[in-house]
Symmetry: C2
Subunit: 458 residues, 2 copies
């Protein structure tokens, strides 16, 4: 390990110590005692900088508040964890988090009408407009996670007992959002290729109407599902939903922030995205966007009146519970946004890198890809039962042998111990890192004498 | 302004730039090009350290991602903003945020049963236990803001049309949480001292039962309200609620994290706290704690089964929508926790400082305090209609004269332009800063020839 990673953290922390002295001082400046502490801490910082220059030194800080280990996996390794890849903060987001960490940091200049999405400084109001435009929807709100976006919609549209159409690959948070609203999930079965089709959706809607006598209140489908990251024909499904006058929720947890998403072109009544999954923002964060048609319902403002005081809070939105992300998470999402918007334009290259790695993995004999192939996404489910699992069967570390081999070469994020079916995500890795990743798997395979048969490209 | 504040931020950002190089490099180390960039950035950092030593230099970085200004008010000034005081991050929390900013940063070691509050590394599971003990309740969950705690309870307990008893000083998020569940708020009127009493609560419950034929589904009262931060007899109110077999929700947005809260002693069925308001954590964050009696209802796990796949997600809690704060917000709350727990033991001193300042303000003739007095809290509503507002009447800057005078002396956070009734919070200010704050108000009063009559202590 490069000691400099450790020293970068120690430098950051020494500067936070200095910052704290400013926070405790009078506005007129530091007093002599504080100046003495400042000088001592600066001397420490100089030592850290010297270590950074020479690449020397011993770790001095290993825990925060006594119990929390430093998290340095993104600096020390290549992280292929399936859900973490596109939620890594950008450099700008990390700077934002440093500046805006304090609780209500977004609220310094909150003025009438006192709602987060109306604040102009920092430019939160214009960010909301950009976000809506980015998704080609009419209105957008930030929410504490995609799940809270689902909840706002189900809570507005689903009455107790109402069926809601989801996919057989629906994420559990969709189940919960429907359950929380008192509805019932009804799954669209998959075709033999593990895809949800418009035809199957139509059949399911018919079946539900026939059996329950109720038209489903909502169709919510993941563009790319969390299991295989297969692409489902959401535009076709939206069209089917609309033929039955059912609104369509586009679950973009794996798309919004990594690839272009045009809500109107897709026929979405609602677009939900995840900040911490795909928009390089801290958790919990996300976005819910909708059309002018549905906004009055899902973003409806409170109608409650105090019976004694006659108080009204007219501008506050019921499903948002007023303001949503009043601090670092929003500012970090905003700070990442220029980068995030730009990166969606290069999605084809992310897919190319994904396929490059998968092809190299498939060259390791006995390996399979369970997701659709060629890949259309950076998240992939693979099956190494015929390759690495054969080694695990006789290895004293069992499946952990693979984690050991990978982590000793600086690869982390595969599910530790799993050598049969597992998922990985290559999003955001440079070509240099992608090649290293592929090399590493090849190297491990060679070490255990698993034959390598490179794919023959005609 | 002390240029060093600016340079501390620039130092932090230069280190983030270095960190980014590690993030882009191969696990085997930086390549020659990266090393060259590293050296250049290190040289820049050395310049910043030199500026920090000499207190010289010009600001070089003023915005993040081009549009977001650095937020330095906590370093440059004394901030008396009413809702920000106890949500300021501790030093440890700021270090945690630096390390754990990435989206799903808490989830590196998520293993069966795959739920946030069961994760052992970082020690999230034990933190949940500590949190429950801290509040003397049986079980606790972190939530994205106190409002999401209210929502989980109302959503579980309140059926459409059910009345819910709140106070005439209830926060708007309580209104929204009831409305979102389909319930109706019914306010307990205040006594002449702006207090909610057990007697008035009993009368209100009787009245609601008489008028609607329904027993209220819930009583939810703020221990200290957001308007005056008056203390309400929540223990007495809980007793009344229980006489009618109504569960009691203790709203501790202004107490949990700043003063000792013993949920069982108070008779609370639910304790809700706010991370960004009172627990030195980033927004959105909060806590919902309950008893073993109510946990099965409010923390009920999902019962939904996929009709096609037979999938079940049995351990996921419906009202939590599964996991809640999967990143920096939780880790920062945990990092602040030792400090937060300790500071609740010194609440009496916070109250003493609050009274010290208020007494000095009251010495400025014509000033009044609208909150109960002597103060029992660090948040106070004051009325300076008879003092500073008289100046504002003839000043060309109107009410903004006061903001100008304060900010030029390093005091921020009063509501800009307000010189009649306004709120302030002295929480967390050292004695040195409290005295400075009081001096500043006195100085401004003297400048405008408002008479000062010190309170005579017998």
């Amino acid at each position: 390990m490069d000691i400099r990673v450790q020293k970068v953290f120690e430098g950051l922390y020494a500067l936070e110590d200095l910052r704290e002295l400013h926070r405790q001082a009078l506005p007129t400046g530091l007093d002599p005692d504080e100046e003495a502490l400042y000088r001592a801490k600066l001397a420490e910082l100089e030592g850290i900088v010297a270590d950074l220059k020479s690449g020397t030194g011993e770790p001095k800080v290993t825990r925060i508040a006594g119990t929390i280990e430093l998290r340095t996996r993104e600096e020390q390794a290549i992280n292929i964890q399936p859900i973490q890849a596109a939620g890594r903060l950008t450099l700008e987001a990390r700077k934002a988090v440093i500046s805006y960490g304090d609780g209500y940091s977004t609220c310094d200049a909150c003025r009438k009408p006192f709602r987060l999405d109306k604040i102009c400084k920092p430019p939160i109001a214009s960010f909301h407009e950009e976000l809506a435009r980015f998704l080609n929807m009419d209105q957008a709100r930030v929410v504490p996670g995609a799940r809270r976006g689902f909840q706002a919609v189900t809570s507005s549209l689903v009455n107790p007992g109402d069926p809601v159409i989801v996919s057989a690959l629906a994420h559990y948070t969709e189940f919960l959002a429907v359950e929380q609203a008192g509805g019932l999930v009804r799954e669209v079965p998959l075709d033999p290729k593990n895809l949800v089709t418009p035809e199957a959706t139509a059949r399911k809607i018919e079946e539900v109407i026939r059996e329950t006598g109720r038209t489903p209140a909502l169709v919510m489908i993941d563009h790319y599902d969390y299991q295989f990251a297969n692409e489902h024909d959401v535009a076709g499904i939206a069209k089917v939903a609309h033929q039955y006058d059912i609104p369509f929720l586009y679950n973009g947890a794996y798309t919004v922030g990594v690839m272009p998403v045009d809500g109107k072109a897709l026929g979405a009544d609602f677009v939900v995205g995840s900040g911490h999954k795909s928009m390089a923002a801290p958790a919990p964060s996300g976005v819910l966007a909708t059309t002018d048609e549905w906004a009055p319902q899902v973003f409806r403002t409170t109608g409650m009146v105090g019976d004694v005081t006659s108080r009204k809070f007219g501008i506050k939105e019921v499903e948002m519970l007023g303001c949503t992300l009043m601090g670092a998470n929003l500012i970090a999402m905003m700070a990442s946004f220029p980068t995030v918007r730009e990166r969606t334009a290069h999605w084809d290259e992310e897919v190319e890198k994904s396929n490059y790695f998968i092809d190299r993995l498939l060259a390791i004999e006995g390996s399979r890809v369970l997701s659709e192939y060629p890949r259309k996404h950076s998240l992939t489910k693979v099956d190494t039962t015929g390759s690495f699992d054969l080694v695990a069967k006789t290895h004293r570390r069992k499946g952990f042998f693979l984690s050991d081999e990978l982590s000793s070469r600086g690869i982390v994020g595969e599910f530790a111990g799993a050598t049969r079916t597992w998922k990985l995500n290559t999003f955001g890795l440079s070509w240099k890192r992608i090649r290293y990743l592929a090399e590493t798997f090849t190297e491990v395979a060679e070490k255990y004498r698993i034959p390598i048969t490179p794919k023959v490209t005609p």
